[in-house]
């Protein structure tokens, strides 16, 4: 059996997982604080636009969105397999395609800001 190409998606999964572990809780917290009106100005148009207008802000948002999507895609592929859905090839195409589309879209949206 030939050597697998899974390393490419696994490294995205691992990078995304580490980033998600370190960043996702606080980012979700930001949204919760904004949604419950606990911090005036938090995630306001002015604040977020200023952040995303800078190339570092764009890079941050792209990295977070893309890596979270690729992490979730690979893990979902494995989880669906664990839940008994055995059509691994089809599932893989769907989830990775979704992650790829999401990545491309975030680039497109970010360059418009």
């Amino acid at each position: 059996m030939a050597k697998s190409n899974k390393p490419i998606v696994w490294s995205l999964f691992a990078a995304g997982g580490t980033l998600a572990a370190l960043l996702a809780p606080v980012l979700v917290l930001l949204f919760l604080l904004a949604a419950t009106d606990h911090a005036p100005g938090l995630l306001s148009y002015a604040q977020l636009h200023a952040f995303a207008a800078h190339w570092l802000g764009k890079l941050f948002l792209l990295t977070v969105i893309a890596l979270f999507l690729w992490h979730a895609a690979h893990r979902l592929r494995v989880a669906l397999h664990d839940f008994g859905l055995r059509q691994d090839r089809i599932v893989a195409v769907i989830v990775y395609l979704a992650a790829a589309v999401g990545t491309v879209l975030s680039v497109l949206y970010l360059v418009r800001i």
């Binding site: 998600a20 606080v26 917290l29 919760l32 604080l33 995630l43 636009h49 969105i65 979270f68 893990r75």
Partner: protein, 130 residues
């Protein structure tokens, strides 16, 4: 002597109910659904941001609803579950040998928790919350 080995069937869809360690594993794996959902939320935010102030502010209004807050809270729980389970297993994948011994796993875990706290505080500070 005739051999007739018997193969015991394993349920493809219910195997994880057999032991609590498998249920714990599945709970770890499903965190990805919520991480993915949050990523899509961020994507939406970025998309609305690119369309201008009015579009973005209607997005903000949408996430202030009670269902949204419930959803975000659930996402937060799973995001934290992912973080804790991720940090706990990292030492196994990246052992650090020092001389004849290995760095105890708890140091690597502790370093991750420290980074987690620092990064979280930095983000909160940078966002103007702290």
């Amino acid at each position: 002597m005739s051999r007739r080995p018997f193969v015991r069937q394993v349920s493809r869809t219910r195997w994880y109910f057999k032991h609590s360690r498998y249920l714990r594993y599945m709970s770890r794996e499903v965190t990805c659904v919520f991480i993915g959902a949050f990523a899509l939320l961020l994507l939406c935010a970025v998309e609305r941001l690119s369309e201008g102030q009015a579009a973005y502010e209607s997005f903000l209004a949408a996430i202030t609803g009670p269902w949204s807050i419930l959803g975000l809270s659930i996402v937060l729980i799973f995001a934290v579950h992912n973080a804790i389970s991720w940090f706990n297993v990292t030492p196994k994948a990246l052992p650090v040998q020092i001389g004849e011994g290995f760095l105890p796993g708890r140091f690597i875990v502790a370093a991750h928790y420290a980074a987690w706290i620092l990064i979280s505080l930095a983000v909160l500070f940078f966002a103007g919350v702290l």
